[in-house]
Symmetry: C2
Subunit: 116 residues, 2 copies
Amino acid sequence: MSGFREDRFVDGDKVRQAHSKLIDGSVAIWLAELFKALADPSRVRIISALTHTELCVHDLAAALDMSQSAVSHQLRSLREMRLVRYRKEGRHVYYQLDDEHIRDLYRRGLEHIEHG
Amino acid sequence: MSGFREDRFVDGDKVRQAHSKLIDGSVAIWLAELFKALADPSRVRIISALTHTELCVHDLAAALDMSQSAVSHQLRSLREMRLVRYRKEGRHVYYQLDDEHIRDLYRRGLEHIEHG
DNA sequence: CTAACATATGAATGTATGATCATATATTCA
DNA sequence: TGAATATATGATCATACATTCATATGTTAG
């Protein structure tokens, strides 16, 4: 008994097969978290800006026409999700995409939108 | 004047450059919507199940151990986002992923999680 | 040291959203 | 036709979350 509901009539084989190939619950949560990090227009625009170059918070806010606070809060989410990394230089903090996987996810999403 | 805030002192060039390469606001919204559709554990698990085969609502619910209503509601989101398509056969409705782009996004997200 | 600047963060608030429950619609079967 | 089955959907409710405002922390310049 690998844990799915067997206490009622179901077309056993298909369901059992589907269940056995299902990703683990905690993986589903992590994966959802990853996509959640990209699931907001402001964060998408931040990612978009960082696709081309690194930027400090102030310049990001200016380029996106968002408040410094809003940008900073969103960067926090992106940091926690490891979608961006940063380096400090004096009183500035420069952000960039964490790796190519992120750029790739972003680009593929964009392709799907544009060819849809 | 392409629309970004110029009414205060900024390091013009970097900001102007970043702003000019930014994706359009409505594209950002669409892209966010796409990722939003993948930004929930239940929907991720549904996608996961449909990665291998098409399934009807009832079997999906059984395999995922979710209520029929919850699955149906989530399938609605996925339908509206064009992540899944369906065919009716008698009283059953069989769902499958809409295209390879979706499978691809899902897989790449999964890779990012697993190699992270 | 003080003022100005850059960033981060906590609280408050309005909005979005996922699950459940009840119910509606549609199809098959006896 | 009526019962059973499969799916969809509206209402409700609790929770999550994005923005704003106020403020704290840290850095540089004068």
